[in-house]
């Protein structure tokens, strides 16, 4: 593995810190924004928890409506993109601006910023794509923000087995599911777009260097946060 060596070497902050916090402003600003984003998801996820506690009848069983294996794969995609992002960060920290480069005596080529950030973007875009497919499938089966559509496949299942499909609270199920995953998806999309922007304006022109790679760290923070939120969502929405 290539990082047996890396784990040893030291890691510098991407830019001389500014006064006050000892952290440069872009990073500080991003952290403050993330704090506020926590409160945003608190409103959505919190409402979900509250509603689910106070619900009149049983919730749909995990896997009854949602396609967990598919989403599991999606989760994996997002985790991969997250690790790719951090690899990109490490790469530029070592000044590796290139895409791939042969390392003498190694079969695996060594990836640079261009490579890892591209992987990140692809995985992220993949996540969004899969989620769209999932939405389309669900709506096709009759799962909508308003509940199970009249006369749809799911509506019939729900009639047959109300407990399993949480017929009583299908409306809440739809509302919370689409709002939470939807806004997470929105966050991912924003991330992908801004990373594409950086890729073409900063990464390809090799604007980043081991001395200053703030953009990478800041977008990275955002990206990992989105990943973090998904980890929570996946558990409480799909598995519980």
């Amino acid at each position: 593995m290539t990082h047996a060596t890396q784990t040893l070497d030291q890691m510098r902050p991407p830019f001389p810190a500014e006064v006050g916090s000892g952290v440069y402003s872009n990073k500080l600003g991003m952290w403050v924004f993330l704090a506020s984003d926590v409160m945003f998801f608190t409103a959505l996820i919190g409402s979900y928890i509250i509603l689910r506690f106070g619900m009149p009848s049983a919730w749909a069983r995990p896997g009854a409506v949602l396609n967990v294996p598919l989403t599991g794969v999606n989760t994996f995609l997002l985790i991969c993109s997250s690790v790719a992002m951090v690899k990109a960060y490490a790469a530029i920290a070592d000044g590796k601006k290139y895409f791939l480069r042969k390392v003498p005596g190694k079969t695996l080529q060594d990836g640079g910023l261009k490579f890892w950030l591209l992987v990140t973007i692809i995985c992220g875009a993949g996540f969004v794509g899969v989620q769209l497919v999932e939405y389309i499938k669900l709506v096709g089966e009759g799962f909508t923000p308003a509940g199970y559509r009249e006369g749809s496949l799911l509506a019939e299942h729900a009639l047959a087995d109300p407990a399993k499909y949480g017929a009583g609270v299908a409306g809440m199920y739809g509302s919370t599911f689409f709002t939470m995953t939807g806004f997470h998806g929105f966050h991912v999309t924003c991330g992908v777009i801004s990373m594409l922007y950086l890729y073409f304006t900063k990464v390809l022109p090799e604007k980043y260097s081991a001395q200053d790679y703030r953009g990478i760290e800041v977008i990275g923070l955002y990206w990992h946060f989105v990943d973090l939120v998904w980890i929570i969502l996946f558990t409480i929405v799909y598995l519980i």
Binding site: G29, S36, A43, L44, L51, M55, S57, G147, G171, S175
Partner: protein
Amino acid sequence: MSFWRKYIFSTDHKIIGIQFLFVSLFFLLVGGLLAMQIRWQLGFPGKPMPGGGILPESMVSGGVILPEYYIQLVTMHGTFMVFFAIMPLLVGVYANFLIPLKVGAHDMAFPRINMWSFWLALLAGLIMLAGFFVPDGAPRAGWTMYAPLSARPDLSGATISQKLWSISIVVLGLSSVMGSVNYITTIINHRAPGMYWFRMPLSVWALFITAILAVLALPVLQGAAIMLLFDQSIGTHFFDPVAGGQALLWQHLFWFFGHPEVYILILPAMGMVSDIIANGSRKPIFGYHSMVFAIIGIAFLGWLVWGHHMFMSGMNPTLGSTFMVSTLLIAVPSAVKVFNWMGTMWRGNLRFHVPMLNAIGFVSMFTIGGLSGIFMAATPVDIPLHDTQFIVAHIHYVLFGGSLFALFAAITYWYPKMFGRMMNEGIGKAHFFLTFIFYNMTFFPMHIIGMGGQMRRIYDPTIYDFLKPQQPLNVFISYSAFALFAVQILFAFNFLWSLKFGKKAPQNPWDDNGMEWSLPNPAPHGNWDRTPNVYRGPYEFSAPEAGDKDYLPQYVKLPTDRDPVPAPAPAGH
């Protein structure tokens, strides 16, 4: 720089502040005009409103305000005043304008984000205003937008505009988060050498804490507004009990944001008033540190009291008790602030310039508003008072008597820094005294009709036997309100006239200590050409070292002063 880059799409924090000023004064005017119509209806129900003829039939018939229009008036009055007048005036204008100037920075940390925050705020305001011009009129659920009324067009009678409200609030939230991220970063990272945490003026402290509140509170409202929007448009059921939703959930979310919000509306006012009172008394602020901790205390407690708006909502009474206690405790840090302001004036050498007058007005009026809060905080007493005009009186004592008086002070005080000219002293004084009188004549009687039981947001009190006897008081209030509005024209005139004809301002018109006065008026783009040094705290009035002058600015280097080490001490120093 072209005119466009300089004045329209400017990234200069001072220009952005001024843009905010004009826009939010416009919305203040809109809110005021709506209030006048409210007062006409409450004072003279069923009588044709002068000039009501120009409004469409869907709002007034034969000049008489219709019930549905009345609710729109109240809703939009509250919404505009809170979200688009006072909040942008305090935070949008003065956080933008003052923070870099007072901490000795060249500009905000993220000037472009700052510009976007203004344009988004304007956009949000226009979306909200559009509500009046869509079919079936403006939103109709009060500024608190209680669900399910707000979520169900079939029940409220307004379809499009309810959605517009939600959208506008989401946009506004975005704008103010952007702004606040900027303020926080700037204050933490861009203070000039020597501007230690405990050398910051209280106005900056207040704006800093306010920004933290905004960053944490507004996203919650955004989330709630989004859920509301979905309930209204794509058929979700968050707040609709029929499908397992919870009607009270909206109230919890709204007030979890809402109470921190009301402190967002008062803390900057308190901060700026502290600066002005110290200046007007020619004395250091009394107990600077405890003033800072009082601000932090109020902000912190503000998160634990939201339930006091829900005592009657069917919320678990046991929770009500805890919320009562936490609410009452807020009186303590507030006490520190009020009495420390008085302590500052004690044995001072008071100068009654217009800002000082308004600041004193603020202290006395905010006290009334705060004290009326104590009545409502005591749960049993809140039973008869909840959702009556007593609440309306409280609202206006804290928001008009508090925030708006502070704003009259602040606008006059930093006017020279913004436009290089002074506002007219005579008109200013006249405006203050007349406003003070008519303001009390307008809002004090509301306590009494509230005790009498007059509910809020009712179109016609006279249909109730138990309200008929106090109708004369309503008429009295209305006349005073019209006078109050008329008096505001003095201010508008003074403000606009002085832009062109006000007398040129000297460098430091108020003999103040703030960093901003080391610059010419108006301050140039980029403020200082080289980062200034800060040598002392902000309130060294009448300090012995000052010699014959009775003030000692932060930027003045005395022979005894050493230059500060460039990197200011870290937080918690």
